[in-house]
Amino acid sequence: MNVLLDSLVELIRRTSAEIPDDVQRAIMTSLENEKKGTIAESALKIIERNIELAKRKSQPICQDTGSILFYVDCPVCFDQTTSTETCREAVKLATKKGYLRQNSVDSITGENDGTNLGPGSPTIHFHQHRSDNLEVRLMLKGGGCENVGAQYSLPAEKLKANRDLDGCRKVILDAVLQAQGKGCGPGILGVCIGGDRAVGYEFSKLQFLRFLDDRNTDPRLDALEQDILKTANELGIGPMGFGGKTTLLGVKIGVANRLPASFFVSVSYMCWAFRRQGVELDPAMAIARWLY
């Protein structure tokens, strides 16, 4: 009996089939705010029904179970090799059980061997810390919303965006405009100001590990997050791009240092089916508590 394997399969199952509480609250609020009798309201009602059905049947909320992104916060001397192997076993098993779609395609041949294992799948980020805590977070991020992410380089002349927070604001709002309904809104933005191209996108996704209703501890970024959220919801794109009051459920912005020559603003777009969960594991590798 492999306790870690069981814990990881359960993490995958629950991440795939159950919307976390903070996201569900935000979706319910947006349903209440939407104008009655509109197709936007109908869309949110179907979404609400879908959330309930997926949880009850323990089946995927969305058929695109997406990229499989693990984030492991571990003590010094933690055995990363064994846990990587066990993560991969858990993914394979979860796929057999139908918690994950057969989602990993060879980029040269187009072949899909049905296991969800391959170069880059799953992705496991290890972060070592000086406490004894072991936490494993999982994000399942679908392809539709992944496709409407964007990385801007400032200054962006066409958007009249300079190398300042106003310039960042302009390009982030442009990403929302370009996405329209294609990211399955109402969506959530994860943004990184700075970094090289890889760090930019990586840090933008780390923003999704924050609670949806938290506030940024940096007052400059907090103001920017609130402003972009309010402005985006005035654009009238709405759920699914049907027109409506809620285009975004949240905006989360982080920063990384940059080179003098580069100024990237990396925007990751997360769909309403925001599948993100986590567990704290006890010394026996069993689930001690859920994080979201």
Binding site: I39, S42, A43, I46, I47, R49, N50, L53, A54, K57, Q59, P60, I61, C62, Q63, D64, T65, G98, R101, Q102, N103, V105, G110, E111, N112, G114, G142, G143, G144, N147, L159, K160, R169, K170, L173, D174, L177, Q180, G181, K182, C184, T231, E234, L235, G236, I237, G238, M240, G241, F242, G243, C271, W272, A273
Partner: protein
């Protein structure tokens, strides 16, 4: 709520307007990236796949095999349609397709083909995989699964009360074009 009962006729499709909420009863065939590229490059439609007066569904379902060899759809929401824009108009024309179910909308070429050939774009709710899986009453067959893998195969699905919204009609109307324009204007006054 308008009921679209198979057989799907041109007259039925031309009676629909942008914004109409519909419930679809009948057979739909899934087809996404691999299938569209394959047909565009002259690939033969497998025998048994009848797209004439039919509906294509942009979808890669999660399907589990039953002990008796049959199939059960356990998740079936739409994929983003715009990726098929280079191919869709031609496929509507060549195969006589009456409806395309997907999400996120499509572009001017597909809109044009809808007008010319009496077809509409039916927007299903993105991510509503369980609600839509419940609308699949039976998996009748699957084609090209070995070649393209399960999500990219052509799944022949019998659906009942499948909800969708007409967002591109056969008379030149497109909700996506309208929302793009109004959102562009709204943004321009806020930056």
């Amino acid at each position: 709520m308008k009921v679209l009962q198979a057989p799907f006729t041109e007259e039925m499709m031309r009676s629909l307007r942008v914004g109409d909420e519909v419930a679809i009863n009948g057979v739909v065939f899934t087809g996404r990236d691999a299938v569209h590229k394959y047909l565009h490059e002259g690939g033969a439609l497998p025998e048994g796949v009848n797209l004439r007066d039919g509906i294509i569904y942009h979808c890669g379902p999660v399907v589990m095999q039953e002990p008796d060899g049959g199939w059960k759809v356990t998740a079936a929401g739409p994929t983003t349609s715009i990726r098929e824009e280079p191919y869709q108009g031609q496929i509507i024309r060549d195969f006589g397709v009456r409806g395309v179910i997907g999400k996120g909308g499509m572009g001017e070429r597909t809109l044009d083909a809808c007008g010319k050939h009496g077809c509409v774009y039916l927007h299903a709710i993105g991510g509503a995989a369980q609600v839509l899986a419940e609308c699949v009453k039976r998996v009748r067959n699957v084609y090209l699964k070995d070649e393209f893998g399960s999500p990219e195969a052509i799944w022949e699905l019998e659906v009942e009360n499948f909800p969708a919204v007409v967002t591109m009609g056969s008379h030149g109307g497109s909700l996506h074009r309208d929302v793009l324009r109004t959102s562009q204007e709204a943004l321009a006054s806020r930056v």
